[in-house]
Every structure is written in structure tokens, then in C-alpha cells.
């Protein structure tokens, strides 16, 4: 935990030092390979996600909603009852996997880079929300030309904050594979205001 204090302090100092003119809003969409949802069809349609972001200085907040197909939702909402060992079937409906992240975004024109962490929430079609979908880490880099930009992001999902801390602990020892290996790639198209 103490190892996180130094980088956090650096981030806060940078945030205070950078002029407020860097505040901006973002709207965008992203495309992710359809095979990520479990579809083995090589011609599977890409997954679509909607992006809303806000950055102030280098602080960065974002909400990404990934539209997930029914078979992915079913697979990720089906679980084994820990008390009786029964398989509890999930929900065979499309869903939005919502990721609410906070982190930092660095802009060195025309290049941008960002790193975020945050919790995940699942919205099932029909109005029901669903917990137990973990947390995520996202790293992204791209280019920005005034009011628009393109970037590529990688998202790693963890079952819990505990698993995420363990992954960062390994990264502190030089092993970044727990964070970067198997990241879900997304190509993002963003408008900046």
C-alpha cells in the first residue's frame, strides 16, 4: 500500500500544476473483436461500446458501456451455488457491461495516453442490474487532432479489487503479465469538446 502513495502523490501534484485549460469532455464509440464474447465464428460481428469521458488537468473519468450478446451474459451470470453445488443458470439476454473508471490521461500533441481503474456493473435488458462482475484496468494510447481522435485501448477485467491489488503487486515486482496478458483490445473513435 505504501508503494502506491508515491505515485498517487505525483499524480496529484501534476494535476494541481497543469493549467485548467486542459479540461475537456469526450463522447465516442469503440469496436472490440466479436470473438471476445465467446463467439468462435471468425466472421463474428465486432462488439460496440459507447464512451463518455471527462478530464480535468490529467485526472480522467470515464464511463464505457459495452453491448454484450445474450450468450456472453448467460455465461457470466451462471454460477455454482457455493452452499449446495448446484449450477444456477444465468440470464440469456443482451446486456450492457458498464465500466466506471478513474485514472490519468496525458496529452502530448498529437499523442494521448491514459490509464484507469474502476468497478464494473452489468445492466440486463429488461431493466435489471447485476453485480459480481468485478473491476477493470484499462490502458490506452492514440492520437488526437483537435476535436477528434483515435486510440487503441486494452482492458483487463478482474473478479475483485483483491485480485486487482494482487496483479498490481506483481507489477511492482516487474511482472506486468497479470495486467497486460489477455487484455481485450478496443479501437475507439472519440470526439472532444
Amino acid at each position: 500500500m505504501k508503494k502506491l502513495l508515491v505515485p498517487l502523490a505525483v499524480i496529484l501534484l501534476l494535476a494541481l500544476a497543469v493549467p485548467a485549460a486542459f479540461a475537456e469532455a469526450e463522447l465516442g464509440i469503440g469496436l472490440t473483436p466479436g470473438q471476445i464474447a465467446g463467439n468462435t465464428d471468425p466472421n463474428a460481428d465486432p462488439l460496440l461500446n459507447f464512451h463518455i469521458g471527462w478530464s480535468w488537468n490529467i485526472l480522467y473519468f470515464s464511463w464505457d458501456a459495452y453491448a454484450m450478446p445474450d450468450y456472453w451474459t448467460y455465461s457470466n451470470t451462471t454460477y455454482v451455488d457455493p452452499n449446495y453445488g448446484d449450477i444456477i443458470p444465468g440470464y440469456l439476454v443482451p446486456s450492457f457491461l458498464n465500466m466506471f473508471d478513474v485514472g490519468v490521461k496525458i496529452v502530448l500533441r498529437p499523442f494521448i495516453g491514459y490509464a484507469e481503474v474502476g468497478p464494473n456493473f452489468l445492466y440486463l435488458r429488461g431493466g435489471q442490474s447485476y453485480g459480481k462482475v468485478g473491476v477493470n484496468v484499462r490502458l490506452g494510447a492514440g492520437v488526437k487532432f483537435g476535436w477528434w481522435g483515435i486510440n487503441l485501448s486494452g482492458t483487463q477485467v478482474f473478479a475483485s479489487w483483491y485480485d486487482l491489488r494482487a496483479a498490481f503487486k506483481q507489477a511492482g515486482y516487474g511482472d506486468w503479465s497479470y495486467i497486460t496478458q489477455g487484455m481485450t483490445p478496443t479501437l475507439n473513435f472519440t470526439l472532444y469538446f
Binding site: A25, L92, P94, G127
Partner: protein, 139 residues
């Protein structure tokens, strides 16, 4: 000047409200993945079985949520009693669908059926289909 500075926040707020209020509609638009497989089985009491093989065909009309389409099919298979004509409609939303089948040949007849989506077999997550058979007798 203040309005200009608030504009990005206003845009974000509007986008968030729109997104939150249209979640189901967005998902329904992105994933209309149901499909219907239809087998129209045609029999005749007048002995004109050869009509099935010599140009008679079935026209099937499908109407439902956001869709109105038709397809035609010629003879597919014969089981000794019925001639079977096969159709598949894909990318369908949840809801009720009317199927109206018409046999067109030297003799003509018609019938209809009503089915509802969605899929009812969650144990097979690759299955997005539903099958229905429509029996028709021409005289």
C-alpha cells in the same frame, strides 16, 4: 462565457441521460438475434401430388415487430404424405409474429400461424432459433 465553459458538461449530461433512458432500445437494436425456421407441409386430398414437383411453390409472409417480409420456396422434401417447403427468417426482435403461407400451383390454398420469440433454450447458448411447422391441405 460561462455557458461556453459549461457546454461540455451539458453535452455529457444530455448524452448520459439519453443513454440511460434508452438502454433496452439500444440493446434491441444491436442484438435482434432471434430466428424462425419454418416448415410448411402441404398435402392434397385430390391426388395432385405431381403438382408439388412441377412448379408449385409456397409463399410465406412474416409480419411482426419491425419486420414485414416474404419468401418463396419450391419443394424441399416428401415424406409420403406431405411435401415440405423450408424457410428461415433471421435477425428478429422479441415479440409475436404472424406467418401466412400460401401454396401457389395448379391448385391454391392458404393457412396461417402465430409464434412468439424469444428463445426458450438457455442451455444451448448458440441456439437462437425457433422452429415451427405449418400444415396445409389443398383440395
Amino acid at each position: 462565457m460561462k455557458t461556453r465553459k459549461l457546454l461540455p458538461l451539458i453535452i455529457l449530461a444530455v448524452a448520459a441521460v439519453l443513454a440511460l433512458s434508452s438502454c433496452d432500445a439500444l440493446l434491441d437494436g444491436i442484438f435482434p438475434s432471434n430466428q424462425i425456421s419454418v416448415d410448411v407441409a402441404v398435402n392434397t386430398t385430390s391426388g395432385h401430388h405431381t403438382d408439388f414437383l412441377t412448379g408449385g411453390y409456397v409463399s410465406l409472409q412474416l409480419t411482426g415487430p419491425g419486420v414485414s417480409s416474404s419468401a418463396s420456396a419450391y419443394y424441399g422434401s416428401w415424406d409420403g404424405l406431405y411435401a415440405h417447403y423450408y424457410f428461415t427468417f433471421t435477425d428478429l426482435r422479441d415479440g409475436g409474429y404472424n406467418l401466412s403461407a400460401t401454396y401457389v400451383g395448379s391448385l391454391s390454398s392458404g393457412t396461417s400461424a402465430f409464434i412468439t420469440m424469444p428463445v426458450e433454450d438457455p442451455s444451448n447458448p448458440d441456439s437462437t432459433g425457433k422452429s415451427v411447422s405449418i400444415l396445409m391441405t389443398i383440395n
